[in-house]
């Protein structure tokens, strides 16, 4: 077992925090759930799959939303007969995201694994690492921090935020009643703009 100290969180604390987090989620129905084997340290994690829509035309948001253009679609832009009966309506761009919060045995900190797909379904048109990096505000993360890694439980590639920066974050949040929530709310914007509902804040005080 790893040493407990400032900037770390024990498995027991992680699990306790995670259970509170999921309880709150079921109260406000925002879809987080606990998966895996809770009896084995590091084998259980909090996860959510979500589908959202990105509306076009919002310039402020454009910088923080993935590009849907594929170079190879540029060849196709047909001009067809004008149809007077067709209503103009904003284009709806689906984005499926999956976020997993795991506990790292080697660092004794939570780690965020995530993936995003620019379609209605997971697996179709994934968001690349470079794209995920470009979506981080002001590019404040280097690819050192946001990279790709094999999900330790599922064995498939995910984007992730390297745990090395979590030590510092956990130190800052050491007064929190739920370090997991405090930590997650800090790192979430870097993970495809994950948003945590403000209700979770109650868990930290």
């Amino acid at each position: 077992m790893s040493m407990d100290g400032p900037g770390t969180i024990t498995w027991d604390e992680f699990l306790e925090n995670a259970e509170r987090f999921v309880e709150m989620s079921s109260q406000i129905s925002d879809g987080w759930e606990l998966r895996g084997d809770k009896k084995m340290p590091g084998e259980a994690y909090v996860a959510r799959k979500q589908k959202q829509y990105i509306c076009s035309g919002n310039n402020l948001n454009d910088r923080l939303t993935p590009r849907y253009n594929d170079d190879s679609t540029d060849d196709f832009d047909f001009v067809l007969k004008q149809d007077p009966f067709e209503a103009t309506c904003p284009i709806e761009r689906p984005l499926v995201t999956e976020h997993h919060v795991l506990w790292s045995m080697s660092y004794s900190v939570p780690i965020l694994y995530f993936n995003g797909w620019k379609s209605d379904f997971p697996g179709v048109n994934p968001i690349s690492m470079e794209e995920a990096q470009s979506l981080v505000h002001n590019g404040e993360l280097k690819y050192k921090d946001l990279s790709q890694a094999i999900h330790p439980i599922l064995g498939t590639p995910f984007l992730h935020l390297h745990p090395c920066m979590s030590h510092e974050l956990l130190q800052i949040t050491s007064n929190s009643k739920n370090k997991l929530v405090s930590w997650l709310s800090t790192v979430a914007p870097a993970a495809l703009n994950l948003k945590l509902r403000c209700e979770y804040c109650q868990l930290t005080i």
């Binding site: 849907y68 007969k81 067709e86 379904f121 179709v124 390297h162």
Partner: protein, 696 residues
């Protein structure tokens, strides 16, 4: 005049199972058939995103022939036709307007012959035009919801109402319940009647149309109110696209009603119909409405979707990450390398390494070990050249071979190729069985033809490579490849083993015709002044096998040695590739006073020596330099020039004529010089090689 009615367009979505199933069917069943196939699509009613439009979803059940196996009461089922072109060109050349006109005819037919009245799903016909790139797992598709461009204009009689405003609570409940109880195909379109006893009744379109027409004839109303209902996947204030074909159907089957009355429609929205809206429309006044009706279907069809870029064109689905088994292993391999890039060496050029074309001459202990390290670096193109077979004595030392290879006595070149493909299926691997012509190994008449072929093949292989590894088991076998690399200016990496000592070396560059000696005083000479394997020899390579005893002919090395040398050989290459000067990088000799800012010497991954020699006897490693030798029997200007001039006949002379290379290179002249001792001293000073290595 009130607002003119417009319609919101539809959106469709395919999940990965749809394409996985399609690929399976394409390979096993459709093959090259480009005929249209029937498919199902559905609007799911479990969706939670109710503020957004509900996409028409295609998945693996879309291809089921029997509707019962698709039928799901929690969805609205539509039927469609799909055409997949075999080539991208054919896909591009299809005219979308002609395509929708011809493929969408079924909608018009079903309205005109009345079959849509009983089978309302025929009104929501959709079309899919697709091209599937089965190699790249990339799919192009474009969906259309055909409807006539021409439509007698409708105007809002009043603003749309929610069902809660239109109906009392009991009827809202009846409507929602009634909708959910409908068969998934009849959920598309139906009729809602309010009877005189204020009962809500849900019936099919045929019954609704009949009720309209009888009341018209009898001038009396059997029902208090008649609503035509349609499932509406759209979420805007406009009615959704499916209403268009319903309007056409009503215009065709009850024109008097259509052109004179206020018609009420229920747009069924939300997963339990709870968000439904009621629209009340009235037609524009037409002088000759019969004419309007009759010309309804003379127009073209419209209804192509816009893609997520808001363009009229196909959507591209890239499934290589999930569907391609080779890509899966690729991703994992690349991930390790990318981690190195991401975390340690951000400027590492992995593309360059991936694209590198490596020719491995010799597929023995060194060849196998070098290939393993190249795999580790993610090199994607490896060609093995060898002319021997796997024997039982090889398998424990030559890490690519198995017992089975020895049992089958497979050629090493082929066995090595199969082995790397087994390790990484996506790699470009080749195996070539070839005997390399060697000086001193006389080519007799009978061998002439095969020697010619071997030379041609070897020339072609070297020409098509970026790097040639010399991993052969004899000195003279390295001669011709050295000449070819010098002539074609390819990177040559040489590795040779003794019993417990090794030599790993990069050859200097030879794209010049200047025969002047390099400056021997330069501390770290550049690639252009570095020698080759033969540059410090004072005899030409000859038949080393003839005057040796059996145990000398077969080099036996300590087993760990090949792994060490192979590791060094590949790392030397990679360091070289990531050096700003590439093969011209200055050679490292002395390890003291290396300044990281000296970019002629220090590259991204550090320094690149010329020759690394090491021994397991005392675990020593030292770096040496051999300068380019103007009378080298393999890389000097006269040799390269003669090869370029005479090709095969030069090679034959080198093989057959004693001392031919010594004469040609000028080595013979030098050996006769009175100042030979001084010259040798100068040569020895820059390379302190031991006698052991020379024998290799």
């Amino acid at each position: 005049m009130s607002k003119f009615v417009k319609f919101s367009k539809l959106r469709s979505a395919t999940d990965s199972t749809f394409w996985a199933k399609f690929v399976e069917l394409k390979i096993d069943k459709f093959k090259l058939d480009e005929k249209s196939i029937s498919i199902w699509g559905s609007y799911g009613l479990q969706s939670l995103n109710e503020d957004n439009s509900n996409p028409l979803t295609l998945d693996f059940t879309s291809f089921n022939e029997d509707v019962e196996t698709v039928d799901n009461s929690l969805s609205v089922l539509c039927c469609g036709r799909m055409i997949n072109t075999n080539t991208f060109e054919a896909f591009r050349q299809i005219n979308p307007e002609k395509f929708i006109d011809s493929m969408g005819k079924d909608v018009i037919n079903s309205i005109q012959d009345g079959t849509a009245l009983q089978s309302p799903w025929k009104l929501s016909l959709f079309l899919v035009l697709a091209y599937s790139d089965l190699k790249k797992y990339k799919f192009y598709y474009w969906v259309a919801h055909p409807t006539p461009l021409r439509l007698p204009e409708m105007y809002y009689e009043e603003s749309p109402k929610s069902i809660n405003e239109e109906f009392r609570a009991k009827h809202v409940e009846d409507l929602c319940q009634g909708f959910l109880q409908l068969d998934s195909r009849t959920k598309n379109y139906f009729t809602v009647l309010l009877s005189e006893g204020d009962k809500m009744i849900i019936v099919d379109l045929a019954t609704g149309v009949k009720a309209i027409n009888t009341s018209n004839e009898k001038q009396s109303q059997e029902y208090n109110e008649i609503y035509f209902a349609f499932y509406d996947p759209c979420a805007t204030s406009n009615p959704g696209w499916p209403l268009r074909n319903l309007l056409c159907l009503l215009c065709w089957h009850c024109p008097t009603y259509y052109f004179s009355k206020v018609i009420k429609f229920i747009s069924i929205r939300g997963n339990k119909a709870q968000k439904s809206l009621v629209f009340a429309f009235r037609s524009r006044h037409y002088e000759n409405y019969k004419n309007e009706r009759d010309s309804l279907f003379l127009s073209n069809l419209v209804g192509w979707e816009s893609n997520l870029n808001d363009k009229l064109g196909p959507t591209i689905v890239n499934l290589s990450d999930t569907m391609d088994p080779a890509k899966l292993s690729d991703r994992a391999v690349n991930l390790n390398l990318k981690l190195m890039k991401w975390r340690l060496v951000p400027h590492l050029d992995l593309e360059k390494i991936y694209n590198l074309k490596c020719l491995l001459l010799g597929a023995g202990t060194l060849g196998c070990a070098v290939a393993r390290v190249l795999l580790g670096w993610g090199v994607n193109n490896i060609t093995f050249v060898d002319n021997s077979n796997v024997s039982h004595s090889n398998t424990v030392r030559q890490s690519l071979y198995s017992h089975q290879d020895a049992v089958k006595h497979k050629y090493k070149a082929y066995a090595a190729k199969d082995a790397v493909l087994n390790i990484r299926p996506s790699i470009n691997a080749e195996g070539v069985v070839l005997h390399i012509p060697m000086p001193g190994h006389v080519v007799g008449e009978s061998m002439l033809e095969s020697t010619k072929k071997s030379l041609e093949k070897l020339e072609e292989l070297v020409e098509n490579s970026d790097v040639v590894f010399l991993l052969l088991d004899s000195r003279e076998a390295r001669w011709l490849p050295t000449v070819l690399c010098a002539a074609k200016n390819k990177i040559a990496i040489n590795a040779a083993l003794g019993f417990d000592s090794y030599t790993v070396q990069r050859h200097g560059t030879r794209n010049f015709t200047n025969p002047i000696s390099p400056d021997l005083e330069v501390r770290n000479p550049r690639g252009v002044d570095l020698g080759c394997y033969f540059c410090n020899d004072v005899t030409q390579p000859g038949n080393s096998q003839t005057d040796r005893t059996v145990d000398q002919q077969c080099t036996v090395s300590r087993p760990g040695l090949s792994q060490i040398a192979a590791g060094l050989a590949v790392e030397l290459l990679i360091t070289l590739l990531q050096h700003p000067l590439g093969i011209e990088a200055e050679a490292l000799v002395r390890r003291d006073n290396i300044s990281p800012s000296d970019t002629d010497l220090v590259g991204l991954l550090g320094c690149v020596p010329h020759t690394i020699r090491g021994s397991l006897w005392n675990y020593d490693t030292h770096l040496t330099i051999t300068h380019r030798f103007t009378s080298c029997t393999a890389c000097s200007v006269p040799i390269v020039a003669e090869y370029k001039n005479r090709g095969l006949s030069f090679v034959l002379d080198a093989c057959n004529m004693p001392n031919y290379l010594e004469k040609l290179s000028g080595l013979e002249q030098i050996l006769k010089r009175p100042d030979l001792d001084e010259l040798c001293y100068a040569l020895d000073n820059t390379s302190d090689d031991d006698e052991d290595d020379k024998k290799i």
